[in-house]
Symmetry: C2
Subunit: 261 residues, 2 copies
């Protein structure tokens, strides 16, 4: 009897706490293959593809790009390049993809080159995820990376809406750097959200372990993407993509393009 | 030119290292929704459902149960109970499911009760995952939990086969306790395997954070399953399920049943 009463009060106390808190929810999807588990249509979705798509997007927009059109194939990128006055960029296996003009390093798009121009960028994991969020009628779609961490956090706090931090991962396999970025966001904004999500808690614990030196952490743990990019000689890119707030802009998706809000 | 050479040697050195190491691979699947990403048919699959299915399986077999038949529905459990001389057990929402005789706490199956008997246990997440591994022709299927951690580790080392640590999660959502168990296994056996898997690295980092007091860690982080089970008054079960090596047996799946190897 006592136990039944205890269970009854525990359950109702929980419900009461939720009602009082009345904060929007925050969830972390560690892979595109898990996105369907979350209520995308009632949420702002943050697309996270730290190495290197969303970092390069932040850099290009911060450096004055007019807009960025993310596409998921080299063929689509070439096609748009022929139809419009744009810069086409994208890599496959660490090399500029055949038929495109530029790679997708954040260093490729300094202000003197990209200002006022439209960039068509082909990425695989990030673009696929963005289109999934679009198909599920996300309330809004923004992109996040360490270079624009604070812009993303300030926006999420200001909107007072449910949030899904959506990691692009690598061919659906969970990766360390996207999870760390989710953890960084949670670390900064958790007081403003109700977080009943183990993936979010795991992400924050990992970020707290890593935050003193994100690059060394990725290196020490021999993260799969650290491994892949260093084998292409791209340590400099990794360091850039792990640097907080150097391109503080908010890329928001509107009518097929990412623009600075 | 120098950079091209450097990239060439880096890539080939990597390949060489892999060839020399010649260790079997180890991957962690954080959710049943990610299992298809891994090569199940060439691997031993460890089913992990810490709270409480695989812990209770270890307890019952350690206490002398003849075998355990895992089924995914209450109806199937009732049906087998009518056809065979077995004990039927399973819970829904923290209560013994209607039509079944026992719950699924590890405390329900002491030696004086379970010795020599067959248990039909209905669980949702763990059983679904086990059937997925079976459908994909896993080389072998065993179940893992903190109470039988060392048995699982010793078996995996002895087999010299590829391994997938498969977390049952909660309705496909990643959970903390199953990830922590994957991390505990990795922590003990990593020298024997080639691990190129960020999820595995994340699991081990989390385990290292938690290992001094797994219960306190789950409580402090307010893990979703900790939350759910304590609201049913099941703290004692959680503590049991987080205790290492108290039921050191290896449950292996053979012809529809889990038996102690």
């Amino acid at each position: 009897m006592y136990k039944t009463l205890q269970v009854f009060f525990n359950l109702n106390f929980k419900r009461l706490k939720t009602q009082i808190s009345n904060k929007p929810s925050l969830y972390t999807s560690l892979s595109p293959a898990l996105l369907h588990l979350y209520d995308v249509s009632s949420s702002i979705v943050v697309i996270i593809d730290v190495l290197r798509a969303t970092s390069t997007i932040a850099a290009a927009l911060h450096n004055g790009a007019k807009s960025i059109i993310p596409v998921d194939s080299v063929a689509e990128c070439i096609k748009l390049g022929k139809q419009m006055e744009v810069i086409t960029a994208g890599e496959r296996d660490g090399q500029i993809a055949e038929g495109l003009t530029y790679g997708n390093s954040p260093f490729t798009f300094p202000p003197e080159f990209i200002k006022g121009k439209t960039l068509v960028l082909t990425t695989t994991n990030g673009t696929k995820l963005l289109h999934m969020a679009l198909a599920e009628n996300a309330k809004a779609i923004v992109t996040g990376s360490f270079p624009n961490l604070s812009s993303v956090c300030n926006y999420l706090i200001s909107q007072k809406q449910n949030v899904i931090l959506a990691c692009a991962a690598w061919k659906d396999k969970v990766n360390l750097e996207d999870t760390l970025f989710a953890g960084a966001v949670i670390n900064k904004i958790k007081e403003n959200f109700s977080i009943n999500c183990d993936a979010s808690k795991m992400a924050e614990i990992l970020y707290n372990e890593a935050k003193d030196d994100l690059y060394e952490f990725m290196k020490n743990k021999d993260a799969s993407h650290y491994h892949r990019l260093t084998s292409y000689g791209l340590e400099k890119d990794i360091r850039y993509c792990l640097t907080i707030d150097i391109d503080n802009v908010l890329p928001i998706y509107k009518e097929g393009r990412l623009v600075a809000k």
